[in-house]
């Protein structure tokens, strides 16, 4: 079996969704850390 059956180009939508899939949780983590860091300047 070949998992990469398609020889078509990767869809830009797939690319966007996959990047969002990793960037959304990362942004949430950065935001949570930033909120904590604000205590230093508060």
């Amino acid at each position: 079996m070949n998992n990469s059956e398609s020889s078509k180009s990767s869809s830009p939508w797939l690319l966007a969704v996959f990047w969002l899939y990793v960037l959304i949780p990362l942004s949430w983590g950065v935001w949570s850390t930033l909120k904590k860091a604000l205590a230093l300047f508060g």
Binding site: S7, S10, V22, V30, A37
Partner: protein
């Protein structure tokens, strides 16, 4: 099943975008980076029986401390020993095994908490989870380097930045889940472990299913290898076992070890240091905020410095880490004495960015020196420098501090000598980096060596 996960079946078909590889790597690194946030479980785990407060039969913090230590030891061991296997079977199977180990480690640990058997947590998170950490850490690195020959540093920086970011997700996620599951009878750790194990397994599996290795002779569209070759970037390849016979491997080991030792040493004492140096103006809450800020710079530095190394060169980037770093470490005591907290925070943040940059730039440095063919395996073996530094840094800092205080030095001043010694370590690192030269050609693989492996001699690719 094994066919599906085999190296041959994960070769990209025409049209596959290389920009799918960094998020595939990130989906693994963002999970395993959770290891640095494991300490959020320490307090609840000391109250598993007593719930509201620790009961006599509850675990002690010293008992729980071994979980993280075991995980880091097995990270180093599995990266060192699993790297060669990774090069043989490819990143997909390695990522899948890493997902099973890391996710499974959480599930075994949940059983350990439920039965209140510490050895099950040692086995689950410490040993099996630690193996998942090591395999997951090294698995996408060589693939990224092969997909981004034009931006090796940026590509590995993206993945290794994820390891820094993983703790930022893991800590609030764990707190959120424990708050949701806790009750009058439970601290909520069992359910949290089960959910996190499932989530992390799925996320890492998505990474394993998405990652592809480039086909033979693949190059980015419109890119040709530079005509004027940089002497510090080879187009030849050195076998994993042969790399261990070169002085370059040990110099790079020293470079990583010293950079990480100095960084870990000061990171561990950052919270206490700022509170003691600026007594009265820094509360424990704002000190925790300071540590959070440092972790942001640590993560950002991983991407920034490794990307910059594509332009500056790997050797020059480490020269900056060691020369500027030594200067910054030496300046910090003065900042404390003058009471300039803003500058103190800025200098500390810069130090942390270079600490993170040291981790993320090393795979590209290895690829430059030893070639891209076995860089994953060589990187795995070099990570023993990280394990060593993980022990050396805190021990060195704590020992020096205790000695200073026992000699009657004021607590706020006890850090000064530590910072000067750390600066000294960076000077040694500078010399080690200075000594790195291209690998002698006798160590390069020949056509025959590759024929024995898989019949492909990758250097032919570079001739196109």
């Amino acid at each position: 099943m094994s066919g599906f996960f085999s190296k041959q079946h994960s070769v990209a078909q025409p049209g596959y975008s290389r920009w799918l590889v960094p998020p595939a790597a990130l989906s693994v690194h963002l999970c395993i980076g959770q290891a640095y946030a494991f300490s959020v479980f320490n307090d609840p785990l000391t109250r598993v029986i007593g719930v509201a407060s620790s009961a006599p039969d509850d675990w002690k913090l010293t008992t729980l401390g071994w979980i993280f230590s075991l995980a880091i030891v097995f990270l180093g061991l599995s990266a060192a020993f699993g790297g060669k296997w990774l090069e043989k079977v490819g990143p997909r199977l390695t990522m899948f095994v890493a997902a099973c180990c890391f996710g499974g480690g959480f599930l075994i640990s949940a059983l350990g908490v439920h039965l209140h058997e510490i050895w099950l947590i040692y086995l689950g998170y410490g040993v099996i989870g630690g193996i998942g950490l090591g395999l997951g850490y090294v698995s996408p690195v060589s693939t990224l380097i092969k997909w981004f020959p034009d931006r090796r540093g940026m590509a590995t920086g993206m993945a290794i930045m994820g390891f820094g970011g993983g703790a930022m997700i893991g800590a609030p996620l764990s707190v959120l889940l424990m708050d949701h599951f806790k009750s009058a009878e439970s601290v909520g750790v069992v359910q949290t472990f089960l959910v996190m194990g499932g989530l992390y397994f799925c996320s890492m599996l998505i990474g394993a299913l998405t990652i592809r290795i480039p086909p033979p002779n693949w190059q980015p569209a419109g890119w040709t290898p530079p005509l004027v070759q940089n002497k510090m970037i080879t187009d030849k390849h050195v076998h994993i076992d042969q790399a261990l016979k070169t002085p370059q491997f040990y110099l790079l080991w020293l470079v990583l070890c010293l950079n990480v030792t100095a960084g870990i040493g000061v990171l561990g004492q950052a919270s206490v240091m700022i509170q003691e140096m600026f007594k009265g103006s820094v509360t424990p809450a704002s000190a925790a905020g300071f540590v959070g800020l440092l972790s942001l710079f640590n993560m950002g530095g991983r991407f920034f410095w490794s990307s910059a190394s594509d332009y500056l060169g790997r050797k020059n980037t480490y020269f900056i880490f060691f020369a500027v770093g030594a200067g910054l470490y030496s300046t910090i005591p003065t900042m404390g004495m003058t009471g300039n907290m803003a500058l103190f925070v800025l200098l500390y943040a810069l130090i942390m960015s270079m600490y993170g940059g040291g981790f993320s730039t090393i795979p590209a440095y290895l690829a430059d020196i030893f070639g891209t063919r076995f860089v994953g395996g060589i990187h795995g073996r070099l990570l023993t420098a990280w394990s060593t530094a993980g022990v050396l840094g805190p021990v060195l800092v704590n020992y020096i501090r205790e000695y200073q205080i026992s000699q009657g030095v004021a607590k706020a001043d006890a850090y000064n000598v530590t910072m000067y010694i750390m600066a000294g370590l960076l000077v040694v690192g500078f010399i080690a980096n200075l000594s790195i030269r291209p690998v002698h050609e006798k160590h390069h693989m020949k056509h025959g060596d590759f024929d024995e492996l898989d019949g492909i001699y990758p250097a032919d690719d570079a001739d196109h």
